[in-house]
């Protein structure tokens, strides 16, 4: 009996050493930062954005991070973050966090006020900062906007964005009145953002059909 125990203990020690040695230190988590355009008439589209957030809450796993921020006159600010969370590693706790997050977003959507300007670049910078700090392995920025930037006079935003390893998805890019008259305006706008993201090392994608949300976090 004693001999058996003496045999089992080294086996357990070796197994424990093996598994601790195999512990994967590389992050497998995902970080998602969603920017919501609250300027002008686009604020009315926020119900759609809420559905997308709910979808994200359903598919994100324990350990993943999610933040939702508004795009207003000066978006490069923590104050514009509506809600942020890094889900607990335990699924039951993560579920509770998701519920609270959903409630907070619901409250925001109901009480949101339209902003006069649209600082998309500032929001992007804030997103980059948040996602880099979160340590997520897969970083995604979702921009729920018409992608028409309208800056306050004096704000400087014409600089290169550092977006290595980032994926930027423009969602529900609605066509403006001018776009209908001259569609080239729309294409030019989209292309400008694509170039800006790709020149910073990021990936760019546009999803206007919200029935295909499964492509948001996929490659």
């Amino acid at each position: 009996m004693r001999k058996t125990i003496l045999t089992i203990i080294p086996i357990l020690i070796i197994a424990a050493t093996f598994f601790s040695g195999c512990a994967d230190t590389k992050s497998h988590t995902r970080g998602v930062y969603m920017l919501l355009d609250t300027s002008g008439t686009y604020a009315r589209e926020l119900k759609k954005a809420q559905n997308i957030i709910n979808y994200l809450l359903a598919i994100l796993q324990p350990g993943d991070s999610l933040a939702v921020a508004r795009i207003d006159s000066g978006s490069f600010s923590e104050k514009d973050i509506v809600a942020k969370v890094t889900f607990d590693k335990r699924p039951s706790v993560a579920n509770s966090q998701k519920r609270i997050f959903a409630e907070r977003i619901d409250k925001f959507v109901k009480t949101v006020k339209s902003s006069p300007y649209t600082d998309i670049s500032g929001g992007l910078l804030q997103a980059i900062e948040f996602l880099n700090e979160s340590g997520a392995n897969q970083k995604t920025v979702l921009i729920f906007s018409d992608m028409e930037e309208d800056l306050v006079k004096g704000h400087v935003r014409d600089f290169q964005l550092q977006m290595d390893g980032f994926k930027v998805v423009a969602l529900n890019v609605t066509k403006l009145r001018g776009d209908i008259v001259d569609p080239r305006e729309y294409l030019k706008r989209i292309d400008k953002w694509r170039q800006r993201v790709e020149s910073g090392g990021g990936q760019w994608r546009v999803i206007n059909d919200l029935d295909h949300l499964n492509a948001i976090l996929g490659h």
Partner: protein, 489 residues
């Protein structure tokens, strides 16, 4: 304008240059014809011989493997028969212990019953009636001359009466003795029955032993055949191995299915313990943990089966004495129960987490939902029972696993032999093909240089050629003649 090819003799006339170059090449090839033919033949011969040598060495390997397979098959067969014989002997020992252990008592009982019956028999034997001694007296009296005396008449009359009286008494005595004998004989019946019953038990035991002895005889014959390595034994064992392989594969397939179900049952709740974002070697820790748990259960099951003597995968466990093996089996059984309890709890937890997830999804989709989404306890109970039972089912996998390991060795050996044979045949085929490809290449070579060959043939057929031929023929005839002379001498 493109630069002309430097090989062209007349750069401005490429066609002419090509023709001249081709003619030169043909002439060169014609001059080198013999050497080229020899080279092609030599190359093809080298390739063929190399392939034949390779095929031979593959066949040698195949023969060694076949021999090794045979040895392994016989060794496994011997072990199997030894185990069967051991089991039969255990059964015989059990029968002897159970039925014939009380044989001395049974024997004494039988002897007593036989003695009793013998005694009764002795008692019941018919006593011969006592010889009537008075008949002589009657005979003597009857011989007395009747001279008309009244006295004699009276004596005879008395004697007659006495005889009648005596006869009656003798008859009564006889019937009384017969009755007594019948009584004794009827008292013997239960003894006879008891004796018959006892003998029946002994007979049945003997028949069972005889049957087992027949089985042992058969097994010993098999053992003898295996020991002598007869082809019959090898064929039998080989076919048996194939059957075992397929049956055990099926058993293992079912066990793997059970393991997959088990994995799905415990992987989700494991994330509650390990965390959903922890990874081990690139895999979620919860899944690795679930897999590890299942493997531990399987290993415990294998050890339990080993300790119980169902399998013989670990010789060191089989070599333990009975007491130690028994203790080992109890420890493993306790572990199995712990694992079963753990799995049952995890299954319960899984149900709660799944319900929470479902409720969350419902609330996110706007349908609303509560944590206790399910109303029936049946799915939970089913999952818990499955969680409890599956470790024991996995433990049973040790039996098909052992059979699979033993049979796979033979089956893989047979497959390897087939593969080596195929390889050898392939090598031979390609070797032969290369050999004949040589002739083909020579033909192609001759086809390329057919103009000079045609010219050569024409010259040979003309006078010069014929003369040369004749001279050559004469020379060879003279040489043959010389040779014959030498041989005759």
């Amino acid at each position: 304008m493109p630069d002309p090819n430097p090989l062209f003799i007349f750069p401005d006339k490429p066609f002419l240059s090509i023709i001249i170059l081709a003619a030169l090449a043909v002439a060169g090839l014609y001059l080198a014809r013999r050497q080229a033919h020899e080279s092609i033949r030599a190359f093809c011969r080298v390739v063929r011989n190399s392939m034949r040598i390779a095929a031979k060495s593959v066949m040698r390997g195949e023969a060694q493997l076949r021999e090794r397979n045979r040895e392994v098959l016989l060794a496994e067969g011997m072990e199997l028969v030894e185990r069967e014989v051991e089991r039969e002997f255990q059964r015989v020992a059990l029968v002897i212990e159970r039925d014939l252990q009380g044989y001395p008592a049974l024997n004494r009982k039988l002897s007593e019953q036989i003695a009793h019956i013998d005694q009764d028999y002795q008692d019941s034997s018919e006593v011969p009636p006592t010889p009537p001694v008075w008949i002589n007296a009657v005979e003597a009296v009857a011989k007395i001359q009747d001279k008309g005396g009244r006295m004699v008449g009276e004596i005879l009359s008395d004697i007659h009466k006495t005889i009648i009286k005596m006869q009656k008494k003798a008859g009564e005595d006889y019937w009384a003795a017969t009755r007594k004998r019948h009584k004794i004989l009827s008292a013997m019946m239960p003894y006879w029955r008891r004796l018959a019953g006892t003998l029946d038990i002994v007979g049945r035991t003997m028949a069972s032993l005889q049957e087992k002895a027949k089985i042992i005889d058969r097994l010993m014959n098999d053992y003898d055949e295996i020991r002598h390595g007869t082809d019959k034994a090898v064929r039998k064992l080989s076919s048996s191995s194939m059957t075992h392989f397929f049956i055990s594969s099926f058993g293992l397939f079912i066990a793997v299915g059970g393991a997959v179900v088990n994995f799905n049952l415990v992987a989700l709740p494991m994330s509650e313990m390990f965390g959903g974002a922890t990874y081990i070697a690139g895999f979620p820790a919860s899944e690795v943990g679930a897999l590890f748990l299942i493997l531990l259960e399987t290993l415990t099951g294998i050890f339990f089966m080993e300790a119980m003597g169902f399998t013989k995968l670990f010789p060191f466990i089989a070599s333990y004495d009975d007491k130690r093996r028994h203790r080992w089996a109890i420890i493993m059984l306790i572990f199995l129960f712990i694992f079963a309890g753990m799995e049952s709890a995890l299954a319960f937890m899984r149900d709660i987490i799944a319900a929470q997830n479902e409720a969350l999804l419902q609330s996110l989709s706007g349908a609303g939902g509560t944590i206790n989404a399910h109303t029936s306890f049946i799915p939970t109970a089913t999952q818990m029972v499955m969680g409890f039972v599956l470790p024991f089912i996995l433990a049973m996998a040790a039996i098909p696993l052992e059979s699979f390991i033993h049979a796979a060795r033979t089956v893989i050996g047979v497959l390897m032999v087939g593969l080596l044979r195929f390889l050898a045949a392939l090598l031979r085929f390609f070797g032969t093909m290369f050999y004949y490809l040589g002739s083909f290449f020579i033909g192609i070579y001759d086809l390329v240089i057919f103009p000079p060959l045609w010219a050569e043939e024409k010259i040979r057929d003309s006078g010069v050629g014929r003369r040369k031929k004749e001279a050559k023929g004469k020379k060879s005839k003279a040489a043959d003649k010389e040779k014959n002379q030498v041989r005759n001498a």
